[in-house]
Amino acid sequence: MSAVLPFAFDYSVVSDHSGELLRGLLLTVEVAACGFALAAVLGLPLALAGRSRTPLLRVPATMWIALARGVPLLIVIFWLYYAAAQEGLFSLTAFVAGMLSLGLTGSGYMAEIYRSALSAVPTGQFESAAAIGLSRAQAFRVVILPQALRTAIPPAMNTFVMLLKGATLLSVIGLADMFYTAKLVAVNEFKPFELYTAAAVLVIAVTLVAALASGFAERRLSKGVRR
């Protein structure tokens, strides 16, 4: 390998700290998963409120979505972690601040995904559900939502991957995740190339796994549909 590369790649510094890196990676995935769960939970009512006929629900929901999609994640992180604490509003741990910022940013994206998935369900489904005597709530829960969720999975997984990549930013507020460890070791051992390469490989690996899981989940939820 050293004949190919114009410089030496010191594997030992990576293997020496592999335990810490992997533990950090677990934390990265954990905070991203918590943020995604929050986004997925917030997104559905947001999407429904955005489709509502009363402006009392629609306007705030639209503004929330615009805010969540328009403000960069890094600013949300700084705002929740430094600005709010400085102003004495609340003071959060790095994990909670990270989870909240990922969740709030993701909620705008998830709301858009739910909205387009709901509008992709053919109107005939509503009509036939009404024709067989289901109430509006029943029709939504048993007929519309399962079909919408299936179309929502691939883009939702993209959002998860986006949040996972955004989670690497949480090292700036001192969340001791994988990238924080990589930065720390890179500085201490002065091996930035090795550590950042390892970090990149880990991030790519996790996103690939997420893509595979998405395909699996999509097949599971498409059981009812034969193509």
């Binding site: 114009p6 410089f7 790649f9 615009a66 805010l67 999609r69 328009g70 403000v71 960069p72 994640l73 890094l74 600013i75 949300v76 700084f78 705002w79 430094y82 600005a83 709010a84 400085q86 102003e87 004495g88 509003l89 991957v161 996972l164 990549k165 955004g166 690497t168 930013l169 700036v172 990238f179 930065k183 890179a186 002065f190 091996k191 930035p192 190339f193 090795e194 550590l195 950042y196 390469t197 970090a199 990149a200 991030v203 790519i204 996103t207 690939l208």
Partner: protein
């Protein structure tokens, strides 16, 4: 609550407006250059993917997967600190940021271009050939306008993402909006005011760009719009004219 309002002091934000404006200028420059380069890169990657040669197509696939999987922050530090330490190759902050942004987003654009290219119905090409149009005319006058019209909304999303992601370049010392806000937030000890101002500015820019992009989309899709007179007469005749726009949208 009164203490909260008394504590808020946006005066320094206004005083530092020229610095923040400089940051906005840098952000705009970086975003536009990165977007232009990403379009070029995206076309290249999409071309590789479409290639008839197996190895080239596979290389394109791998490159796209690789670039879509990596986080911008990781790539930035890898390029800026990692490459410098390993190969003695030191980027300047702005070129490093532009390169990282355009590399990552070219992968997204490549997928968008490919999907748009395939979304044009094949009948369009057959009809053009049947009319005896030369291949070049088909591509530039028939195919490309339709591909543009299909891909523009997704391209707008990528552009907005690039604008938002320029904030991450503050990590390697690019003096864009967030970096300036951070600097003065620390100087004045007013993080709440400066970060709130930065958030508002970003939101305003993103909203403006989104509206501008909508206009562009409408312009690219103007061949699909029904003439106002026709629409009016149709609605008089059949009462369906109001639906014509949704009916013709692809």
């Amino acid at each position: 609550m009164t203490t909260l309002y008394a504590a808020l002091d946006f005066g320094p934000v206004w005083e530092m407006r020229s610095e923040l404006l400089k940051g906005i200028g840098n952000m705009a420059l970086i975003a536009v250059v990165s977007f232009a380069l990403a379009i070029v890169g995206g076309l290249l990657l999409a071309g590789m993917r479409q290639s008839r040669s197996r190895p080239i197509s596979w290389a394109g696939f791998l490159l796209i997967q690789f670039l879509r999987g990596i986080a911008l922050y990781v790539l930035l530090l890898w390029m800026f600190f990692g490459l410098a330490a390993a190969g003695g190759f030191q980027f300047q902050p702005v070129p490093a940021g532009i390169l990282a942004l355009s590399l990552l987003n070219s992968a997204y654009l490549a997928e968008i271009f490919r999907a748009g290219y395939e979304a044009v119905p094949p009948g369009q090409k057959e009809a053009a050939m049947a009319c005896g149009l030369p291949k070049r005319t088909w591509f530039f006058r028939i195919h490309l306008p339709q591909v543009t019209q299909i891909t523009l909304p997704a391209m707008g999303n990528v552009f907005v993402d690039i604008i938002k992601d320029t904030s991450i370049l503050s990590a390697i010392g690019v003096t864009e909006l967030l970096r300036e806000s951070q600097r003065w937030a620390q100087f004045y000890q007013l993080p709440f005011e400066f970060y709130t101002a930065a958030a508002v500015i970003y939101l305003a820019i993103v909203t403006l760009v989104t509206f501008g992009w909508r206009r562009l989309e409408r312009r690219a899709g103007r061949h699909l719009e029904t003439n106002a007179t026709v629409r009016r007469s149709r609605s008089l005749l059949f009462g369906i004219g109001a639906r014509s726009e949704t009916a013709t949208a692809p």
